[in-house]
Symmetry: C2
Subunit: 147 residues, 2 copies
């Protein structure tokens, strides 16, 4: 039997979170954190609702996963996030020592890869998973705001 | 009459916060955010107590100040923090568009200046205010932990 727990499977869950953000009028970014194929955090961007620039999906996911684990390090965990993390989120992921980051669409302008934010040396990165769906949602969001 | 609201004045308040962190067994970093010579946020590192790598003094200060202001941008605000902000905190400060960052001691290894984290173009930076006091507190903390 095929393993149903593919990167696409978990990224779909992150995309569902991004859609919830979209419906709330938030920039549509969603995230989940997974350990042993189990989702331990599901979050979406809430910067507008909370009036707080730190309320990115990833930041909330890190706090939520650490709370679930009962420790602040996320060794053995994978973050799935629809958009490339920014400097702040990558900096938080550095401290968390998370094992793997899987993201969808690139953020050429404000993403950590372009800006050279340092991750923990043990953190693996994979990009481009369901990137098109994540991008489309972002484009749809910014188009709707220009109306 | 001399202006009592010098950078040293506010940094002393941040140092008081760092001392509270020290007493709680936290890495002793403290911060205050000031607008029009009024302190609107006072925070200290709580990563151990909250089991949360995102609970740096600066992150809490940003959230707290935004809450006070009722908006997420910290234009017109100055952050005073005893230690050079890390990538995460500098990344959050980027999003906040804060007007000024004043820090005490350098963090050569993990500070945003060494690691090249991008701030908002309108953010001014000043360093070295009461740096010795901030460093001494850090050294005392790590020495006490080695015992």
């Amino acid at each position: 039997m095929e393993n149903p727990f593919t990167d696409e499977y978990f990224m779909k869950k992150a995309l569902q979170e991004a859609e919830i953000a979209f419906e709330k009028g938030e920039i549509p970014v969603g995230a989940v954190i997974v350990i042993d194929n189990k989702i331990i955090a599901r979050t979406h961007n809430l910067t507008e609702l909370l009036n707080d620039v730190t309320a990115h999906a990833e930041m909330q996911a890190i706090t939520s996963a650490a709370n679930f684990i009962g420790g602040k390090y996320l060794k053995g965990c994978t973050l799935f996030v629809t958009l490339e993390p920014c400097q702040m989120c990558a900096g938080a992921l550095y401290w968390s020592q998370i094992s793997k980051i899987v993201f969808g669409a690139r953020d050429e302008q404000r993403g950590f890869m372009s800006l050279g934010t340092q991750l923990h040396p043990k953190t693996e990165v994979k990009q481009g998973v369901l990137a098109e769906q994540a991008s489309e949602l972002m484009i749809k969001f910014f188009a709707s705001r220009r109306k």
